[in-house]
Symmetry: C3
Amino acid sequence: MFRTLGQLAACTIIIALTTSAGADESRRALVLSSDFGTTERFVASMKGVALSVDPILQIHDLTHHIEPFNVWQASYMLAGTIDYWPEGTVFVSVVDPGVGTDRKSVVAKTGSGHYVVTPDNGSLTLVADKQGIREIRQIDETINRRPGSESSHTFHGRDVYAFTGARLAAAVIRFEEVGPRLEPTIIRLRYQQPKRLDDGGVVGSITHIEMPFGNVVTNIPRSLVDALGLSPQDKATVFVKISHAGEPVFQQRIPYAQSFGYVDPGAPLLYSDSLQTIGLAVNSGNFAEQYKVQAGADWTIRLTQ
Amino acid sequence: MFRTLGQLAACTIIIALTTSAGADESRRALVLSSDFGTTERFVASMKGVALSVDPILQIHDLTHHIEPFNVWQASYMLAGTIDYWPEGTVFVSVVDPGVGTDRKSVVAKTGSGHYVVTPDNGSLTLVADKQGIREIRQIDETINRRPGSESSHTFHGRDVYAFTGARLAAAVIRFEEVGPRLEPTIIRLRYQQPKRLDDGGVVGSITHIEMPFGNVVTNIPRSLVDALGLSPQDKATVFVKISHAGEPVFQQRIPYAQSFGYVDPGAPLLYSDSLQTIGLAVNSGNFAEQYKVQAGADWTIRLTQ
Amino acid sequence: MFRTLGQLAACTIIIALTTSAGADESRRALVLSSDFGTTERFVASMKGVALSVDPILQIHDLTHHIEPFNVWQASYMLAGTIDYWPEGTVFVSVVDPGVGTDRKSVVAKTGSGHYVVTPDNGSLTLVADKQGIREIRQIDETINRRPGSESSHTFHGRDVYAFTGARLAAAVIRFEEVGPRLEPTIIRLRYQQPKRLDDGGVVGSITHIEMPFGNVVTNIPRSLVDALGLSPQDKATVFVKISHAGEPVFQQRIPYAQSFGYVDPGAPLLYSDSLQTIGLAVNSGNFAEQYKVQAGADWTIRLTQ
């Protein structure tokens, strides 16, 4: 078949280099997110398990400072970060109040071509709404589980999610090998989508408190407020009502200002942030602390003229 | 020797690829642990030194939030994390109250096939008891020390430990080249091993406080308590006495419960955790804070019926 | 040209291996520093953008816990860390109170052969004084900016600095391709250089507060104090005056001691630290908190006999 050793050599080279390039290209970064903090050894255990799957895997942290058990925040962090990472990046998100119960362990392939390995407990809510979900598979723990961990029921983050995420990122398994395909219906946290009301107001959710400043982030696009005929140029005031689980927490008429300096230090304001969504802040202060406002699916905000 | 260039080529290829694969396989991750925090530049300096040894070394963090000078905690973190990492991983643990004194700088090869680079000041105590120690070598600082750092006496974490750890992880040196072999006797923190007492009680140590929840971790296996005829199913109560350096800190009869929800919010309980060891917690509270309990070699716990 | 396939093969190999080795050698680590904290998703977004430039780039953190907007601290962190990293390492430092204004975005090549990507707002002050600056180029944002980010004006750390830093670290661009060369004059924070005064005193700056201990770091070398005829061996006292923006904050005669234990717990002392510079501390206490002292360009210290 090969007429000379030279020809053989040439072929060998090509194959060798292709294999090597292929391995590099099929390997994706693994990005970890959790409510474990960085003081304990939990994150390091997850990374060790991931590197046991593939010793040269790239592992990064999204954040491990999600408020304990706050699934909404887990979702917010994912939806706000995924788009900046290369297609194919594997995110492992472990905020898992239901560990040990029958909540499903899944891998979602997003509309943006990323993967999210997570308990299906609401953490995919904002990802579904922002990146979209193309396909979901349930992790088959008879295969995709750290060997020897079968009797452990409390640290799926390490034994199931980091392990499966690493296998997917390292191309040890393809997405199809995660486990059976599920109907693409996830557990959703119900929250107030931004919309204009018939009575002329606008409603939405408080999606996040930006730390350490305590600025309030909403999901209301500036355009909705523009449509009310309100503009920061007019130095108008807006009546803001914030409710938690239906109970009013903040009710006040405050200025809609171009930036913080337009109100007195310590005074609240409404403004349009860099993403052209509506936010609330206190000039040189902390809105969330001052008014006991938090973020999540059960926090709604209503603006009226 | 080679009859044709083709043959020469074929040989070259094989050698080249072998070298490359060999390099990858001999390179191990370097995992850093310390009480330096992540606010200052100390950890970054250690990483820079390690990458100066080998620019493509994989470096990870165990935690840098060990309580300052708490050698016991350094030991607890190592013993609880090592097993999840690939064999050959090099851990650098720097909690070093004795920097500048004549405490020895060593590398231990564990029974599990990992390496720990550390001052021999007690940080190997729990590693010796859990993973075992196969061999210890003292770092020969005439060789294994950052060039140019000879006159610096205060940051061995960077100049000796990170440097030596990186050389070992990058396979620049073999374990035998760390320095002279020592008798495998380490500095040990003396603590109460779990055991049954003749009078029917059980004693052990408080090994850790799990943050941020303040749950108390002991080294008493559930089986020892089972042997007393106690079971959470019986809703039994147990008399718990916690002492610090011999002085009683907590003495109370509390329920031995299946999980937190079996006691009132704010009430303490004894339970068996996921590793089947005995722990203490307050339902929706913080045991360690509420009862001023800490962890360490001088914290003992005694359970009686 | 090639007489046999064997020769062709041999050449191919050499080229292939050279390319591969070249890629590895030309790739440098990217080190990120900021005031973003690690709770939010900002750092992870920067890393995602960097890995989108080059999926196998090595990314490390200097610290993300710089005090918000504290450009002095950004500068202190860079100058104190750079020397421990391999030549060619690319540092991205984002403490950017002027984001959105016309402050320049630059890459500095230091005298030590490292790169710093940063807004030119003072963050290069101590780098210029310690490592020196060999050349500065302004980032040409028509080329070196994350594609699609043109309308975003608030997160240059991600869209300009991380992106450009990654391109430089990955050797996608050479330093000359960053943008036009600038006069090597940076924005400088003016601070008190250490010097002996004619009246026999010594002045300098408070450059840093070492956390969490609250020890004060100055830029006064021990040699200047030696020259006053003062020595810790003499148990001498020194009159220390610390001023903030010209206003006295601390004025007290305190011991110049060999180490903390030479004064009573809770008492202040002056000492010479491991870098042979003068520091202040409280034995078993926190000098900075106790005396409301901070660090920065407008904090000066004066020592007299």
